[in-house]
Symmetry: C2
Subunit: 703 residues, 2 copies
């Protein structure tokens, strides 16, 4: 590569720029083949086998002892962290951040524990164990793992939080619910379907939840091993927005029973689950409403909402993150205890909580077949939340986060925690923000946070016994606010892009009407389908020359362009491939004046020998291929067919500005053998010049 040395030449550098006049002559009739011959290096393509061989060789040659140590150290970032730990600088911040985060963990863990339909204490376990494991394998000192409180879209450009969501807990609830509702399970345990809230039913659910966590962990480890972290790019913004907004309705619905102090309706599944649930709920509310519980929920929601609003407003002044939710829980517990809400007014409370840490036990593998699909879904969703969060934080603090290392950390966190009665976990943005804001500096924050939580679990859990469930429901509902605000996205997408709007709507509607997992898959398929539809009917322009320059623009947008008689210049604004090849063909013949009849004419007999149009308008058709980023076999075949078809009618087709990819495909499809080699020109202008020259019967030298 030659670098023009403008700096050395000083002001004369500009002289280099004035070359266009010089090269005028050479530009004309510049055919691609000669152009490539003089300037290009067409590298031979390696076969897949050859590529693999070279890759392996390269990898193998770089193996050394130091390199191996490095790889292991990279896999366990905590070692490096401890090596370089600066007690004086980092310790204080880490301890403060650890305590603050632990305080947030308590209400959130309990609230989202109930969302999984397990007792709240299991939420606290999930706030404890995965955090420790992440401390060992994780890369971000700011990410707070545990109960997946939120599902966030972190817009790259603005780093804003578009919504918060308890999606992983909800999906866990659904997966373990479907297992526990199986008749075989109920029969096995009791011989009768009667006592569903009994400890045996919780046992079944707990087994299912730990199996699920193990499966999620193993899937994430597998993804990490196969380096498939990039797959999360398919969870695009409109999809995630529609998906989470739809799922918010399910979470909201799940909290209604706790708010009104009624029993949650059971066994509702299948299509239109939500409307049918609401009918049952309303019936239930009319007959069994607990007014005290409703009042507690209403007061809690209003109080939390106002407090959050004030906190947001005066955040800059007070500079402290207030543990609002913990305050609510403390007040709720105290009031409930002294007024004896449970025994006197039958308000549902948290109730008996196991004290201490759970003993390790092997997760059961009873329902692996049923839980596999939910596990895949949860793994995909939770890793996409966590990775996007970690990346956002890393961008802010300019350190690198590796998708695959993060995957390893999440996988280990889920897999190991599953031995300690934990359900699947994911990162939480609100806690991560606090962890970052309260001065956490290293991975050790997680350790301190777990220390505090461990103390709570061992000593303080019995204190939460009288806490009304309505308070926990209030915490969840207030956190849903941001999510329902995402309904605005619909308006945004409707205004900007119809296809993205369709994706949003399709995902939202299937999640709401059917279920979260169906919505996930339908949404994903829609998103792939839309990528195809988008390339389906691109614009097909007739081009003309702009004001004696080498620039060719569409006649629709630039009406003043010049067209040469006998030459038609076309541009199809998309890669030519199987799905738009029929459209391309029809439109192409239409634009060059053949088969222009729009309305199909029904012919009842075989026409004798009438050709469509004997009068050919154009002698040269120039197809600008710059929008072709690739063509497939169907596209290449079509180009060959069109070329030969036109040849028969004595019309010449020139292709211009073909990319290397396109030329390569044309080459293996034997385009050059079946047509003529000099049909490809470097630029449209070159082709036009050649055509004009040929039309004027001036012999053109093929250079």
């Amino acid at each position: 590569m030659t670098h023009l040395q403008i700096d050395k030449e000083g002001n004369e550098g500009i002289a280099n720029v004035e070359f266009c006049s010089r090269s005028n002559e050479t530009r004309r009739n510049r055919r691609l083949q000669s152009f490539v011959d003089s300037y290009g290096v067409e590298k031979p393509r390696l076969s897949t086998f050859e590529q693999t061989k070279r890759y392996t060789k390269k990898k193998c040659s770089s193996i050394s002892f130091e390199c191996c140590t490095n790889i292991i150290l990279n896999r366990i970032p905590l070692v490096r962290c401890l090596k370089t730990y600066n007690l004086r600088k980092d310790l204080f911040g880490d301890i403060i951040a650890g305590i603050t985060v632990a305080i947030m963990h308590i209400p959130q863990g309990m609230a989202y524990g109930t969302l999984t339909t397990l007792p709240p204490v299991y939420g606290l376990y999930v706030s404890f164990f995965p955090v420790i494991i992440y401390m060992i394998f994780g890369t971000s000192p700011h990410l707070s793992l545990g109960n997946s409180l939120e599902f966030n879209i972190i817009s790259d450009s603005e780093a804003c939080v578009l919504g918060t969501f308890a999606i992983v807990s909800l999906m866990t609830a659904q997966a373990i619910g479907s297992v526990s509702l199986e008749p075989s399970n109920m029969a096995n345990q009791n011989g009768t379907i009667a006592n569903l809230t009994s400890s045996s039913s919780i046992d079944i659910k707990l087994h299912a939840a730990t199996t699920l966590a193990l499966l999620v962990g193993l899937i994430q480890l597998l993804l990490s091993f196969l380096r498939l972290g990039f797959l999360t790019v398919y969870l695009t913004e409109p999809f995630i927005s529609g998906f989470t907004t739809g799922a918010a309705t399910h979470v909201f619905t799940s909290q209604i029973p706790s708010v009104f102090g009624i029993r949650s309706p059971r066994g509702i599944n299948g299509a239109f689950k939500l409307p049918r649930t609401y009918i049952k709920l309303i019936q239930s509310i009319f007959s069994h409403i607990n007014w005290i519980s409703t009042a507690i929920a209403a007061v809690s929601i209003v109080a939390l909402y106002i407090a959050k609003y004030l906190n947001d407003r005066y955040k800059s002044k007070i500079r402290i993150v207030l543990p609002l939710e913990l305050v609510l829980i403390v007040i709720g517990t105290t009031v409930s205890h002294f007024l004896q809400l449970h025994s006197k007014y039958a308000v549902a409370v948290v109730g008996q909580i196991k004290r201490g840490l759970p003993a390790p036990s092997l997760p059961s593998f009873d329902h692996t077949d049923k839980l596999l699909v939910p596990a895949i879904t949860i793994a995909a969703v939770s890793l996409s939340i966590s990775i996007s969060m970690a990346k956002m934080l890393s961008r802010k603090h300019t350190y690198k986060v590796s998708s695959n290392q993060e995957l390893l950390a999440y996988g280990m966190a889920n897999a190991v925690s599953s031995f300690f009665q934990c359900y699947p976990s994911a990162g939480s943005l609100s806690r991560s923000a606090v962890q970052e804001g309260s001065g956490g500096r290293t991975l050790l924050v997680g350790g301190f946070s777990s220390l505090v939580l461990g103390c709570v679990l061992i000593a303080l859990t019995p204190l939460f016994q009288p806490l009304p469930m309505a308070c926990l429901a209030a915490i969840i509902i207030v956190n849903l606010k941001g999510l329902f605000l995402q309904l605005k996205d619909f308006v945004l997408y409707f205004r900007i892009s119809k296809l993205e709007c369709i994706l949003w709507t399709m995902t939202f509607v299937t999640v709401v009407l059917f279920d979260v997992d169906i919505g996930l898959y339908v949404g994903l398929c829609t998103s792939f389908f839309i990528n195809t539809v988008r390339t389906q009917r691109p614009r097909f322009f007739v081009l003309g020359q702009v004001d004696n320059t080498g620039i060719y623009k569409s006649t629709t947008n630039f009406p003043s362009v010049q067209q040469y008689p006998g030459i038609q210049i076309l541009r199809f604004d998309e890669s030519l491939y199987a799905c738009n090849a029929p459209f391309f063909k029809r439109k192409f013949y239409e634009l060059i004046g053949m088969e222009t009849i729009e309305e199909p004419i029904v012919s009842c007999r075989r026409p004798e020998t009438v050709d469509m149009k004997t009068d050919v308008l154009f002698k040269y058709i120039i197809l600008e291929c710059s929008p072709f980023n690739y063509i497939d076999t169907v596209g290449a075949k079509l180009l060959i067919q069109i070329f030969n078809d036109l040849k028969k009618r004595d019309i010449q087709l020139y292709l211009t500005e073909c990319r290397y990819e396109v030329r390569h495909t044309l080459d293996i499809m034997k385009f050059y053998e079946k047509t003529e080699l000099h049909t490809i020109y470097v630029t449209t202008h070159d082709a036009v010049m050649a055509a004009v020259a040929a039309l004027n019967q001036i012999p053109v030298a093929n250079n």
Copy 2:
């Protein structure tokens, strides 16, 4: 639009071409906005509402009496056909073609009738009724409707038949099989599951088959009404090839019992159906093989195969289409009758056949819910076969076929025939070829063919009673040959395009291992997924100037190109959208020398204030946008973010060669407000010139 009048200027026309030197000055610093201002017309975009309004207005204004008559006439092509019918010229050819096609209908109808697991006579009904209806509504005088004998890929370029297939019959068999196997149905009829081959079981199947035909017809009519015929483009070549090859294995398997004279195994469904069926079949063959039946099948297959080969070879000499299959049937019937194969050797024969035409009866609607999904699948598959066939024939004879009118015809054919005990039908290529080759000229061929078939149904069906089923199986198996030859396609796609090869394999494997309908949907999803994957990791080139011209090529393929110091020219070879935006971002920063560190470095602490690279290599980044056929909201946001990010580091980003679509999206995403307007240049060369001038601190006039 100004047309250069070269013709009038005669030889001096060439002078117009020499303009490049003149426009050199104006080309420099040509910013897009000023360019558009001087040459372009940026039409205001209409809102969806406005567009609909205009369209309706236009449509309404063109309604007149004559126009209405025309529309109706276009919908019933037969009227026009009769109006212009030329007795002397057309009648003879039509009668000959009608008789020839009818002769083909008889063996094919019976063979493919058995494939649906119904008695063979129902296949003859399907050869009779849909043909009459198609005569009224169809547009192609050469298409032969009836039993879908084949599934053809008609390659546009070579109009060759890649395979033949009885897919619609097979899918019908599966759909009605699943209904008839329901316990409720069995119990309803007999109270016991015993007698499955009894007439009551056939009745259930028949009801299901007619319901299916009605549903298929209604779906096709709906598609025709909504003008959705274009949807068939998603059935791309590699997909159809893999799909039909896979389905051929199922058809082949279904004929093994007839060949060996054993009972077909029942109730095998779910994953790995095929291997399990084979195990049962082999067990059955060992215990119950009927040697006579096997011998008949073997002789028939060999004879048919040789006859077909000879026929193909000497076709040009004898110029007559030999009804080989009918000959086989006549011989088979005669031999079976005189040797009393059924009574003496227990060879399975066609048996009692109802005589005469079926009386019209309303299809039942009992299993509509179960049959809806198969109906959609069959409708999609059958219309894609038939339309592609009609199009191929129309291309050959240069008349127009309208997808939507064809859809109407198929829909009517299926819906009306369903009242006459017909199962779903589709076009047949082999018959269509004969209909065309034997001199058929108008739509009336179908009428004559039906006349002959009607006579056969009324008078001759009892003659087929002793026909061995093995003969019919032989006809099907011989027709599968072309289909299994499609296995070669795998090699072809493997060589040319890995992605198309994956699509082929995925479709083939799911069809073989699971089922035809699962394969169809998995294949379709794979095909959409592949369209997304293809745009996932495009090439990202650094460009350089070729030898003092305005052409910029990649430094990898053209090593001799010149690069300007301080200026980096990049081209991303795909439209920028959600799924490749993260890749774009990473690669972009890598190519401009920021965040070049490949291996992620695990940072255990928050870095103080170290920026990634304080040393900025480039002052101007030029991104050639010619490969961007569209960008979505994510892409536009990313461009804005990158622009502002670079601005902070005092680097200027120029975009060049943006299409109208891209500029429009940038506009609604407020790119111009958030960045600066003069960042878009018309050509890469203009942007380079501007950058070079700016680097040399020469004040550049913004024109």
